[in-house]
């Protein structure tokens, strides 16, 4: 019996994966290849940002702590990757690994220092890290190239294929994002994910049930650091050049907005949120100078009318429709709809 359900679950996963990959390939063939290069770049960068946003989903959606430092971690990883690749002449994969490793170390150190404090102190501590990061990236010329940034990072070669144009990257990044979503779903259903959610809902109750809140949250922070690190390394390789001005608090704010726009409880929603936020300037270009004002007003309206983002909205509509059709209300858990 157990074996049978396992197998059917595996088959379903296989089916969903096949559909998703087919979808990605179709989108690539009919949509991405016909777009302008700069627009493809925007979409790719959104997919890369999604790695950081996924880390924030883990921290905020499941863990309930506002972590503000994904951009600093991402920047460190990108610059370490760039530095080891261009200045030390390492091959690409060790360089990327080195970048990810450095971000893990940073997260472990900062996390073990700040995780003991309450939520707000943690938020401000991580925010301080972003400001320190911005200052260092912009001024420490020997390491990051200062205001000029790092350029000339070598191209990625995988399975005998060189990823030299933005268009060739799309499939790779989209599949990576799909794997990330699968991973997040998996994490949510492990005992680690459940203890994380328990710690979010009631720390004292979680303690009394034997959850080591500190260690759980620290682990979540380190995992989110790994995601951000992968994102940073991918960003460095994808663009080939890194400029320090990207890794500022403004970008961090837009990460939060991406997460909230898509829905803080939904990894898939967050993916659409990041694409939407990054691509919006292209869609609404006609607004001209009022673009940013529109963007701000949109965020305000969004938070007022659908605080759980696009995913929350869809879920509500789905439940309303279901109620309408079946005539009875399916019981929803208070936590999910809150």
């Amino acid at each position: 019996m157990e074996n049978g359900t396992k197998r059917s679950r595996f088959l379903r996963l296989l089916l969903v994966s096949a559909v998703v990959i087919a979808g990605i390939l179709l989108v690539d063939k009919f949509f991405i290849q016909n777009l302008k290069n700069s627009r493809v770049n925007l979409i790719n960068v959104a997919l890369i940002y999604y790695f950081s946003v996924a880390g924030m989903y883990l921290m905020l959606g499941l863990g309930g702590c506002m972590s503000m430092c994904s951009i600093a971690v991402m920047g460190l990883s990108a610059f370490v990757c760039g530095f080891t690749n261009t200045k030390l002449g390492w091959p690409l994969f060790p360089a990327m690994l080195c970048g990810i490793l450095s971000s893990v170390i940073l997260c472990a150190v900062v996390g073990s220092l700040l995780m003991k404090l309450d939520g707000r102190a943690f938020m401000f501590g991580t925010m301080a890290l972003v400001y320190i990061g911005t200052s260092v990236f912009q001024n420490f010329s020997a390491f990051t190239g200062g205001p000029n940034g790092t350029s000339g990072i070598s191209k990625l070669t995988l399975f005998g294929k060189t990823f030299s144009t933005f268009k060739s990257w799309f499939v790779l990044l989209a599949i990576a994002c799909y794997l990330l979503i699968l991973l997040l779903h998996r994490i949510k259903n492990t005992s680690f994910g459940r203890s994380l959610m328990a710690a979010r809902d009631d720390e004292t109750a979680a303690y009394s049930l034997g959850v080591n809140v500190y260690r759980t949250k620290l682990l979540a922070f380190i995992i989110s650091g790994v995601f951000s690190g992968i994102g940073g390394a991918l960003y460095a390789v994808h663009n080939g050049t890194i400029s320090a001005s990207l890794f500022s608090f403004t970008t961090q704010q837009s990460f939060i907005i991406m997460l909230m726009l898509g829905g803080v409880m939904s990894p898939v929603g967050a993916l659409f949120g990041s694409i939407l936020v990054n691509y919006l300037p292209e869609i609404a270009r006609s607004a001209g100078t009022y673009l940013n004002m529109l963007y701000g007003a949109l965020i305000v309206l969004l938070m007022i009318f659908m605080p759980m983002g696009l995913a929350g909205l869809l879920k509500n509509q789905y439940q309303k429709l279901r109620k309408l059709l079946t005539g009875k209300r399916k019981k929803t858990t208070a936590k999910e709809s809150a």
Binding site: L60, M66, L113, L114, K116, L117, D118, G119, R120, A121, M123, F124, G125, M127, A128, L129, Y131, I132, T134, S135, V136, N139, F249, Q253, I256, I257, M260, V264, T289, Y290, N292, M293, Y295, G296, A297, L298, I299, V300, L302, M303, I304, P307, M308, A338
Partner: protein, 290 residues
């Protein structure tokens, strides 16, 4: 020695501005539970008003001040309606935070679109500076000291002596109980928003001649966050001490570095979090409110 004195005066002066912003943050946090990320933009708005009324429209200073106060109060009411009332029953406090980020963007873009896109300078209230040998203090600094001190005394009087202030702090401490006692909590919250916007806008107005008018004034917000933590989270005296501490740290850091000022200030913040997480004066906010 002269340099040291000069740095101290500048540091305290800037620190007082940080303290004003930090105090505004605490008042909002207590009254509405909002961590306001638009605080820096509100401060820049005050500076923009200074330019709009004095530099662009060339109004009589007295009329300009009255107009600015009225418009800041109006901004406070609108800000309260947008960022607080829709979220009164929300179970997800981060939504409010994001909303303030959005509102901050709108405020700064409005400044850019409707007032000016260039960096402008504003004439100080009294031009010139006091010379004591080679030790120079611009007269504007005296105004900054004086007005901020006045506002701090005013706040203390309001919250500790006046009936209105007691009602406000009662509503801030426990909204439900205050409602039961017949305190109009919506009104007190709105009043708090107005006071905070007025305070922060005044700080912006005072700093406009020193730092010039531009949207980059909003970076003061980050220092105010640092001031909150360093001084002790949640108490008004803590905010003042923290603000001055951050101002002095920033100002003395020019002795050995000018490019890494941010690193010094926020490094100090991390150090305080590591060594004394409750801040210099100790934290006063209940922990469960995060």
């Amino acid at each position: 020695m002269i340099l040291f004195l000069q740095q101290t005066v500048t540091g305290i002066c800037v620190g007082l501005a940080y303290a004003m912003i930090a105090m505004g943050l605490i008042l909002l946090l207590r009254a509405a539970g909002v961590m306001n990320f638009a605080q820096g933009n509100l401060m820049a708005l005050g500076a923009y008003f200074a330019y709009l009324f004095l530099g662009k429209l060339h109004l009589n200073p007295a009329i300009a001040v009255i107009l600015a106060i009225l418009s800041l109060i109006a901004v406070g009411i609108v800000f309260c309606c947008v960022c607080f009332f829709p979220f009164k029953r929300t179970k997800w406090p981060q939504a409010m935070l994001i909303c303030t980020i959005g509102a901050g963007t709108v405020i700064s873009e409005c400044c850019l679109c409707f007032i000016t896109t260039e960096t402008k300078s504003v004439d100080p209230i009294v031009a010139g500076s006091l010379h004591l040998g080679s030790f120079i203090i611009p007269y504007q600094y005296f105004f900054i000291f004086g007005v901020t001190a006045l506002m701090m005394v005013g706040l203390w009087l309001l919250f500790d002596k006046a009936y209105c202030g007691r009602v406000m702090s009662a509503a801030a401490q426990n909204k439900y109980a205050a409602d039961l006692l017949g305190i109009p909590t919506n009104l007190t919250t709105m009043l708090t928003f107005c006071i905070v916007v007025l305070m922060v806008g005044t700080a912006g107005w005072l700093l406009a001649p020193v730092y010039r008018v531009s949207n980059s004034l909003s970076i003061f917000q980050a220092r105010a966050f640092a001031a909150l933590i360093i001084g002790g989270f949640g108490s008004l005296p803590g905010a003042i001490v923290g603000g001055i501490a951050v101002g002095l740290i920033e100002s003395y850091s020019t002795y050995f570095t000018t490019t890494y000022k941010d690193v010094v200030v926020f490094g100090a913040l991390l150090l305080v979090l590591a060594v004394r997480p409750q801040g210099i004066l100790g934290s006063k906010v209940k922990k469960d409110k995060a």
